[in-house]
């Protein structure tokens, strides 16, 4: 028998009171009896925090947590679990997810130690294509509990109490959304999972579905029960083929195992889920546009009210939540709203997943409790800026987020504080920017994206962002004026307040926040025609240095005839003729061209 078993027994005061010392003796005795002493290790641990279920003991492999048993039960557990490899279900207690996670991902402690994984609790741990893996980690137990002894009202009360807020960006209280949808009377209601993740650089939803699709399914079925819906739809981007495959497989497996379909787990409750693919429009992540897209129309947001909870998909009451929100639901049911709401800040509970990218050593997907500071994420988990460069800004919330400067690094992350700082939580993009980046150019980059992805319906977003972009291009080309900065602010503030949907309402954020936090850079571009990061091509000045050997390579390559000089003598660039294309810099074999 190659496997070695490990028994970890809680040695906390409460368990001692419940005779854990005696139990250890009993275990040793039992192991001796079966000649298992050298194959099974016994450890004692500090309090495992499950005092009400004491005595508590964990047997690995199997990750079985036994509780509320007596010495008399020990022979059975040893015989069944260790000899027959069948855990004794009767004594298995509802293990705490955090505890479970801790054991599983331990080993990469620098990265994971400072995180807290709830939504991503199973990601990177289980085989996402095997429902058994999910079930073995208490998968679908939350659903079973809901169907066994919770009323819809009680489920909603629990979600409300947890303080969970929509993880898609706006942060609307999830429980209230559920309650509003439940309140509506209708022959049909829908539950939608918004997996149309479109932010450039964001991949939280993709990873969550690819790593743990069943948690989404479970969350949706619970919601269906709570609001009185029988149909669910996962709206997912077609650009995520693997995630599509895995969610479809999960749905099929769940149906086979009786977690979907008719009479779920013998409860009489029916629920079906289907998958709909998005065609890649960023704006389809906006809920009203998403629903129009499902209906077969062009995805364009419509004014609210009516809200989807009243009139959503096909005019029926519809509950729509984002992937990460769904992933939290089973945990809240299993571990309780009180526990969940003990995490995070006053108004933002639980954790948040961020896609950490840009100029940071450890790029990656991180999940941290609300209230963690930007500094902790960027430096402690992300490992700081590579190459000893200077931190310049961090952009949160995807392309519509704001760029925060160093003074905001100790901002505790939650919906309110990020908004106060001039950015947004968004769906969780986090891009770190170092001194090599030009903030005007960064703002231009993000605006280019949102401007392209504007659905074109409302005037401020369609026309206004275009004009803002033109002004930014002007500034980066050295043609800006002082008035241009004011115009950006005037347009930006109007677009924020007048646009139809969240896309337009947040599109000016990168521009407004960079003007607020990095105004000096804008002014340098405008007044001194200078880009301190050396990014804005048109503002560069090319010069020939003394390293020039007069090979004339640059002279030949220059498309504007701006280089002059005799062979074998130092050449000269006429800055009035130079179009700043950079060809001379590229062709020079002697490093003799300097750009500044």
């Amino acid at each position: 028998m190659p496997a070695r078993f490990n028994i970890t027994l809680c040695d906390g005061p409460s368990c001692i009171h419940k005779r854990s010392k005696e139990i250890v003796l009993r275990i040793e005795e039992e192991l001796k009896k079966h000649a298992l002493t050298d194959k099974v290790g016994i450890n004692l641990s500090g309090c495992l925090g499950m005092c009400d279920k004491g005595p508590v003991m964990i047997i690995n492999p199997g990750y079985a947590i036994y509780g509320s048993f007596t010495e008399e039960d020990v022979p059975e557990i040893i015989q069944q679990h260790i000899l027959k490899k069948k855990p004794v279900v009767r004594f298995i207690v509802d293990e705490d997810h955090l505890y479970n996670r801790f054991f599983r991902v331990f080993g990469d402690v620098n990265f994971f130690g400072k995180q807290m994984r709830i939504a991503l609790r199973n990601c990177g741990i289980i085989d996402p294509e095997n429902i058994d893996d999910y079930i073995s980690l208490r998968g679908y137990e939350a659903l079973a509990r809901v169907l066994t002894d919770m009323s819809p009202a009680k489920v909603i009360a629990e979600i409300k109490k947890s303080g969970l807020r929509g993880r898609g960006g706006a942060g609307f209280p999830t429980g209230i959304k559920w309650e509003l949808t439940a309140k509506e009377k209708s022959d049909e209601k829908y539950v939608i999972c918004n997996a149309d993740e479109g932010d450039p650089g964001a991949f939280m939803d993709r990873s969550a579905i690819e790593g743990d699709p069943h948690t989404i399914v479970e969350g949706m079925v619970i919601a269906g029960f709570a609001i009185g819906a029988s149909r669910g739809i996962v709206y997912i981007r077609a650009e995520y083929p693997l995630a599509v495959k895995r969610i479809k497989k999960a749905i099929a497996e769940a149906r086979e195992s009786g977690f979907l379909g008719e009479n779920i787990l013998g409860s009489g409750f029916n629920f079906e889920i289907e998958v709909r693919l998005g065609a890649g429009a960023f704006v389809c992540g906006e809920e009203t546009a998403l629903m129009l897209s499902i209906e077969g129309h062009r995805g364009m947001p419509r004014p609210r009210p009516p809200f989807p909870s009243v009139s959503g998909l096909f005019g029926k009451p519809t509950l729509i939540n984002n992937v990460e929100t769904w992933a939290n639901i089973p945990v809240i049911i299993l571990d309780g709203a009180s526990w969940f709401s003990s995490l995070g800040t006053e108004k933002s509970k639980g954790t948040k997943v961020f896609a950490l990218a840009g100029k940071v050593k450890n790029t990656g997907l991180v999940e941290v409790p609300m209230g963690t500071t930007l500094r902790q994420i960027i430096y402690d988990i992300g490992g700081g800026i590579p190459g000893d460069k200077q931190f310049k800004a961090v952009q949160t919330g995807g392309p519509s987020g704001g760029c925060l400067s160093e003074e905001y690094l100790d901002t505790k992350i939650d919906y309110e504080s990020l908004a106060k700082a001039g950015s947004i939580m968004g769906s969780g993009g986090m891009i770190v920017i170092d001194e090599d980046s030009c903030m005007v150019n960064i703002a231009k980059f993000f605006l280019e994206f949102t401007q392209n992805e504007s659905c074109g319906k409302c005037t401020p977003c369609r026309e206004g962002t275009k004009r803002m972009l033109e002004i930014l291009i002007r500034i980066t080309e050295g043609k800006g004026t002082e008035k241009d900065i004011d115009k950006l602010q005037r347009l930006g503030n109007m677009i924020k307040k007048a646009s139809l949907c969240g896309l337009g309402q947040s599109a000016p954020n990168p521009v407004l926040s960079t003007i607020k936090n990095f105004r000096a850079e804008y002014e340098e571009h405008v007044h001194n025609k200078r880009c301190r990061a050396g990014v804005c091509q048109h503002l560069l000045v090319y010069e020939v240095t003394d390293k020039c050997v007069g090979c004339a390579a640059c002279k030949k390559a220059c498309p504007a005839d701006a280089v002059s000089g005799s062979p074998k003598a130092k050449h000269h660039i006429d800055i009035n003729k130079c179009i700043k294309c950079g060809v001379c810099f590229k062709v020079c074999k002697f490093n003799a061209i300097r750009k500044s």
Partner: protein
């Protein structure tokens, strides 16, 4: 009732309405652009934004409901500036060739820009540039003028249910176009022209023949003949700043002669003729020869719609040509013979309330002896422009009578212009032809008015005849679907392509500065103008029109006879709606 505050003053208003509706009733006209009372709420232009205390962002008043204690500000410095900037943004991407634009002086955007006080420009930049689509016989599409309010898209899908238009591309490149950007003529567009009526600018406009017509009117070798549709006289006054509802029949006749027409005929005469043929056709079908229900065929947009979307119902549709095409056929045969003229030297011009008639004129099925029967169709709008351009004082002109032999009409021919009118006229005649008795109550109220679908019953000789009337292709769709499932439901159905019938045609004058296109009050006044003409006539039944009787005696023989068959009837054939699948993808 609830209390709301507008600009700090309390008002009692009904709940369950939008801020804009409440404000309208209180006398605050919040500026607006994409909003249209007959269409769904788009919330796209953002011109109607207001400030609401407690809301983070501005609120689109067209979409947001009032609530108890709501504090609304419609005219603060901040909101004025935001609105101004929004309208400027629209102008920045608009050609601004106002002086050479068809809608100069009549443009909602122009009015709005003036009202917003845009005197300086702050944000000018790149403008869009697209080719105009000139392919359609009736409607020109000019995306450069389009401000993406979406009214055309909505009227085409919601009121007409044709769905010829949609949005393509994203962001700044968004453009309204037919599917796959097919040429308009190949799209499912029925040429009804309602997009023109609701467009606030001139992104949609009729194909204009005024210059060409002026040229032809100066050609002395041609005999210039005009005909006027009933609804033109009921609406053209609006283009001369008259209140809706004043008919200008005699003034128009005089004006057309002053424009250079040699003969001015009345389409109402051929409407009477249509009734003779159509009532007879109905009675034949009713007696077992042919399919029931019979559906009318006067509306050209409905004809195109039929061939594209309801080919299975072609046999149900009357074979009668429209009154315009009947008149044109007679002008080039009967009339030409009468005045001993070469029909090829006759220029037959139809003044219509309709854009689809431009398309109808080109239908090969309507050729007479190898000639196009109607040489040119101009809309009420084009005619009004020509009258103004020629310096004719329409409002103070001395009225004149129509020419004979195609100028005298009964009251039944007049009411053709209103939804339900064809049916009413047909009943007046069919009843009397069938029973030989006089129908006493000839004003059939059941099928009058602007309800989308109207139904009625009458007993002829002890037999019940069930009739239905639909106006607007969306309403037509409902009746036609009902017929598909229950062919026995009706005997006789009238369908008009435009809301209100011809009085609401796609070629009628633009709404004035204080009303909206499709305004029911305006449509009712136009209708009343025609009903008034009917009431004041001594002859109100088509079969009693002495000129019609003479025409049969001298030329046609009898209704549904051989000559009628050749000149007054036509046929339809199914047309695969192209423009749904791009040409290169269709299976050959």
């Amino acid at each position: 009732m609830i209390t709301i505050f507008i600009n700090d003053k309390p008002y009692q208003v009904e709940p369950e309405q939008t801020i804009m509706q409440a404000a309208d009733r209180l006398g605050f006209h919040i500026p607006r652009l994409c909003y249209h009372p007959k269409l769904s709420i788009e919330g796209a232009c953002r011109v109607c934004i207001v400030e609401v205390v407690g809301m983070r962002n501005y609120v689109a008043s067209c979409a947001y409901p009032v609530s108890e204690g709501m504090k609304i500000y419609t005219n603060t410095e901040e909101i004025r500036r935001a609105r101004r900037d929004i309208v400027e943004l629209i102008l920045d991407n608009h050609p601004e060739d106002c002086h050479t634009c068809e809608r100069d002086g009549n443009c909602e955007l122009q009015r709005l820009a003036f009202a917003m006080g845009i005197r300086k420009r702050h944000f000018e930049g790149e403008k869009k540039h697209y080719e105009k689509d000139l392919s359609s016989a009736s409607v020109i599409r000019d995306p450069n003028k389009c401000i993406l309010c979406g009214r055309c898209v909505r009227i085409c899908s919601e009121i007409q249910k044709v769905n010829a238009l949609g949005y393509a591309h994203r962001g700044f490149k968004t453009v309204v176009m037919p599917a796959y950007n097919m040429p308009f003529k190949d799209s499912v567009c029925t040429t009804c022209g309602q997009c023109i009526n609701v467009c606030p600018t001139s992104a949609f406009i009729e194909k204009n023949f005024t210059q060409e017509l002026f040229q032809k009117l100066g050609d002395k070798s041609l005999i210039k003949v005009a005909q006027i549709a009933p609804s033109v006289r009921a609406a053209i006054g609006e283009a001369f700043a008259l209140e809706p509802g004043r008919q200008l029949e005699k003034e128009l006749t005089a004006a057309l002669r002053k424009l250079g027409f040699d003969y001015v005929f009345d389409t109402q005469f051929s409407a009477d003729l249509t009734i003779m043929e159509e009532a007879s056709e109905f009675l034949e079908r009713f007696q077992g020869k042919g399919k029931l229900p019979m559906i009318t065929s006067c509306s050209s947009a409905w004809m195109k719609c039929l061939e594209q979307f309801y080919p299975d119902l072609i046999d149900n549709v009357s074979t009668c040509k429209s009154p315009m095409s009947m008149a044109s056929a007679l002008i080039k045969t009967y009339f030409a013979k009468k005045i001993k003229a070469d029909p090829k030297k006759i220029l037959s011009v139809a003044c219509m309330c309709c854009t689809a008639k431009k398309y109808e004129a080109l239908r090969p099925e309507l050729m007479v002896d190898g000639m196009q029967a109607t040489d040119m169709v101009i809309t009420t709008r084009e005619l009004a422009w020509m009258i103004k351009s020629a310096g004719i004082d329409l409002l103070h002109i001395k009225g004149e009578e129509f020419d004979h032999p195609l100028g005298y009409s009964s009251g039944a021919g007049t009411i053709f212009g209103v939804t339900g009118g064809v049916m009413e006229a047909a009943i007046r005649t069919a009843y009397e032809l069938y029973t030989g008795e006089t129908l006493l109550d000839i004003e059939i109220q059941d099928i009058r008015g602007l309800k989308g679908i109207k139904e009625g019953k009458l007993i002829i000789d002890g037999k019940e005849i069930r009739v239905a009337v639909a106006h607007g292709l969306g309403n037509a769709n409902e009746i036609l679907s009902a017929i598909r499932t229950d062919p026995e439901r009706y005997h006789f159905v009238e369908i008009m392509g435009c809301p209100g019938g011809c009085i609401g045609g796609g070629g009628q004058p633009y709404a004035g500065s204080n009303s909206m296109p499709l305004d029911e009050e305006c449509l009712m006044k136009r209708a009343e103008a025609l009903y008034g003409l009917d009431r004041n006539k001594t002859i109100r039944r088509s079969h009693e029109n002495p000129d019609v009787q003479r025409l049969y005696k001298e030329f046609l023989g009898r209704p549904l006879g051989a000559v009628s068959h050749k000149l007054l009837h036509t046929h339809y054939s199914p047309k695969e709606p192209r423009g749904i699948v791009p040409a290169e993808l269709t299976v050959k």
